[in-house]
């Protein structure tokens, strides 16, 4: 380990210096509590075939999945860390990570909100997070009689009535192995990229959604998810399958800041939409971004891709990215079905020392396929924000159309915005349009607001909200308001 190596075990811990072993042992909080069997709940750091076998065994997985994981490990080992993004990433020691730990026991969690960092609670307050959700979000040990559980049960019944499967990935592996085997890795192959390969080898858990033919999912798959998605781990895997003519809107994440002991997050999300199906996938990502000086914070290296497999199928990604120290993420759509449509609506905010390299890929394969990209990047402080997008039109994609709108907003003199739009078309009849703007929060606009009695802080939030309006409109209604509040909180102190 060099002195710059990031300590991936715990984001808040100082990098380990050569402190005497005794001192280290004393400084470490007492970890074991009354849980006697702790050893069997987590694996020692390191990654090899034995690690994979152990994970698979603990999760009681079928043979096909173990084989799949092992194949992924083999590929991963042959790959190199990508370095093409416009990101500065400290070296990561993948052998220093622990690749399996069971969810924290209730005893290890804070007993009540009184034990939670007051700063975190203050943020919940600003975001208007309902009281009964705050405890769960802060990781407080809550009883099974907690409100949300009964709400969850009601939801589950409604979903089951129409045949929708919505469960954890592990649950799906046990109960619907044929679906998992059929679709896993069909959109994001194991060897797609370094982090996708790593995820394929070691993924912990995640979500699974199956919408049967012709079913319109009776609810946003969100409220339920928001309060129940604790401790899904650092290598999430999500798979959503929408059968012919079905319709689903899925919302991942929440506006409340999430802390996690794992600094590296490498998730994979795969979406499959068959004929006339529609999948709307919304993300609000607010992982711990590190402090004002750029210490700590989550590395968020995510591979998200949808396959618009069927005729007239549609996939829409909407993302609000405000968290994480580093974001590396390109939710994409492969437009294979004729007349299929892909959309990407994104707001990426980076403040202080955050780095974001994010965008999308629209791969046109089918005839008369259409795609639309709307990207709003906001940088403040010393942050760097890059839009990276690829629009590819293959030889068979007769009549393909794309429109890209890519806007950057700069706040203050030390931040940066960068745009890397790639267009790669094999057809002369393809219509690919790209518009890009870069603006600052102008003094004139700011003064105009102030002259109307609105202080600089609120004026900034107002201007940023307006800048993002086109994307905010894509979010589920109740969520748009929270997202606006989140933008304001993320940019606090950026002006004035």
């Amino acid at each position: 380990m060099t002195s710059e190596t990031v300590n991936l075990g715990a984001p808040d811990a100082q990098p380990v210096q050569q402190a005497p072993a005794l001192e280290q042992a004393l400084a470490r909080p007492y970890q074991h509590g009354f849980v006697t069997d702790i050893e069997s709940d987590s694996l020692p750091p390191g990654l090899d075939e034995d690690t994979i076998r152990a994970i698979s065994r603990k999760k009681k997985e079928p043979q096909f999945l173990l084989d799949w994981r092992l194949a992924a490990l083999k590929r991963w080992r042959a790959m190199e860390l990508p370095d093409w993004a416009r990101l500065k990433i400290a070296p990561i020691d993948f052998q220093a990570l622990s690749y399996y730990s069971a969810p924290k026991s209730m005893k290890d969690r804070p007993k009540s909100l009184d034990e939670v960092d007051p700063k975190l609670l203050e943020t919940y307050e600003k975001l208007g997070v309902p009281l009964h959700e705050r405890a769960a979000l802060a990781g407080v040990a809550v009883d099974a009689v907690f409100d949300s559980v009964s709400v969850g049960t009601t939801f589950r019944k409604q979903l089951a009535d129409v045949g929708v499967i919505f469960c954890s990935f592990s649950h799906a592996v046990q109960n619907h192995p044929e679906l998992v085997e059929k679709y896993l890795g069909t959109v994001v192959p194991q060897g797609d990229n370094f982090y996708a390969a790593l995820n394929s080898a070691v993924f912990s858990d995640g979500s699974f959604v199956y919408i049967p033919k012709g079913v319109r999912c009776p609810m946003e798959l969100s409220s339920y998810f928001r309060i129940n998605a604790q401790n899904t781990g650092q290598f999430e895997r999500t798979l959503i399958i929408a059968e012919e003519g079905s319709h689903v809107s899925y919302l991942e994440g929440c506006t409340a800041p999430q802390r996690d002991e794992n600094q590296l997050h490498a998730a994979v999300v795969e979406l499959i939409a068959h004929d006339d199906a529609f999948i709307k996938y919304s993300t609000v990502q607010n992982w711990y971004p590190g402090d004002e000086n750029g210490r700590g914070g989550i590395y968020n290296f995510v591979t998200k891709r949808g396959l618009a497999a069927g005729k007239r199928s549609r996939i829409a990604w909407t993302q609000i990215e405000t968290g994480s120290a580093i974001t590396w993420k390109y939710p994409s759509v492969v437009l294979r079905g004729d007349e299929s449509n892909g959309e990407f609506h994104s707001i990426a905010v980076s403040n202080h020392w955050q780095q974001a390299d994010t965008g999308t890929k629209m791969i046109h394969l089918g005839k008369n396929t259409t795609s639309r990209i709307v990207s709003k990047g906001i940088s403040a402080g010393h942050a760097q924000n890059s839009y990276r997008g690829l629009v590819r039109v293959n030889a068979g994609a007769e009549g393909a159309r794309n429109h890209t709108q890519c806007d950057s907003l700069l706040i203050g003199p030390h931040c940066g915005a960068h745009t890397f739009p790639y267009v790669d078309t094999a057809r002369a009849d393809a219509v690919v349009e790209h518009e890009a703007t870069t603006t600052r929060i102008s003094e004139e606009r700011l003064f105009y607001c102030e002259q109307r009695g609105i202080d600089a802080q609120e004026a900034t939030a107002l201007i940023v909200g307006g800048f993002c309006q086109a994307v905010l409109e894509e979010l589920p209604m109740e969520f748009a308001l929270e997202a606006k509040a989140l933008l304001a909180v993320s940019l606090e102190g950026a002006v004035g």
């Binding site: 002259q451 109307r452 009695g453 609105i454």
Partner: protein, 257 residues
């Protein structure tokens, strides 16, 4: 001297824009409900007075005093000057893309309510009063749902300033060439609104070159600004003579006298 304390009291105000001194020494008093017309050649410092009073960061006050209702304006940040009751209608109002007009004005009103320790406005009550205000000004209701000044014509922007003025009900309003870019109906709306607010006690400083409107506004005083100083003070006659003979003549005549 039995004059009541003026609402606005400006004494020997000196203002720089960058290195250049634009206002050398300006003093004026405005009583509640009074209307003062400010005239002057281009570059004489009219707009600078408004910007400096409102606290624009590019206009740096080098000396003098400005009190609004006894409160020292120059010590306050811009948003607090507005909350104290100062309204500036911009010569070229900027747009705020994506922010709906009604939301913008409600945010402004609520900021003022909050500063006074009052409850925030009910969104529906506000919308009702905003619709009425728009109607009174002859503005289409749809203007409320459009983003602030985005894609507005020059005249529409000015009318939008009027809409804000009528809803924010300031103690002192500074209208910087509100008539420029406006059609006849627009100018009529200015006069009607000014009369109404004036009767409720709002004081006005109106910058304009348009005699017909100035006459209709029935000013209490007309001031001519020249090279950053108030060169002449008078009544409507001064405005008429400037309109007749121009600023160059006015300057020459004043020098002779």
């Amino acid at each position: 001297m039995t004059q009541p304390t003026p609402l606005l009291q400006v004494r020997d105000l000196r203002v720089n824009v960058g290195e250049r001194t634009v206002l050398h020494s300006v003093s004026l008093d405005v009583q509640p409900g009074q209307l003062v017309v400010l005239m002057g050649a281009n570059g004489s410092g009219k707009s600078t007075l408004g910007m400096a009073l409102a606290g624009h960061p590019h206009y740096s006050v080098q000396g003098g005093q400005a009190l609004l209702g006894g409160q020292d304006l120059l010590q306050l940040p811009a948003h607090e000057r507005a909350r104290a009751g100062l309204f500036l209608s911009f010569q070229s109002p900027p747009d705020v893309p994506g922010v709906k007009n009604n939301f913008f004005i409600r945010t402004a009103l609520n900021a003022m309510h909050e500063a006074r320790g009052q409850e925030p406005l009910d969104a529906f009550d506000f919308l009702a009063s905003a619709k009425k205000a728009a109607k009174d000004l002859g503005l289409p209701e749809a203007m409320l749902a459009r983003p602030v000044n985005e894609g507005f014509s020059g005249g529409e922007r000015k009318r939008n300033e009027l809409l804000q003025l009528s809803l924010l009900k300031p103690r002192l309003a500074l209208l910087d060439e509100i008539d420029s870019g406006m059609d006849v109906d627009g100018v009529r709306a200015v006069v009607a609104l000014v009369q109404k607010l004036r009767s409720e006690g709002t004081a006005f400083i109106v910058i304009s070159h348009y005699l017909q409107m100035i006459e209709q506004l029935e000013p209490d005083a007309v001031l001519r600004l020249d090279q950053g100083c108030i060169a002449e003070a008078g009544d409507l006659e001064l405005a008429r003579s400037i309109a007749r003979t121009g600023f160059a003549r006015a300057r020459a005549q004043a020098a002779e006298a």
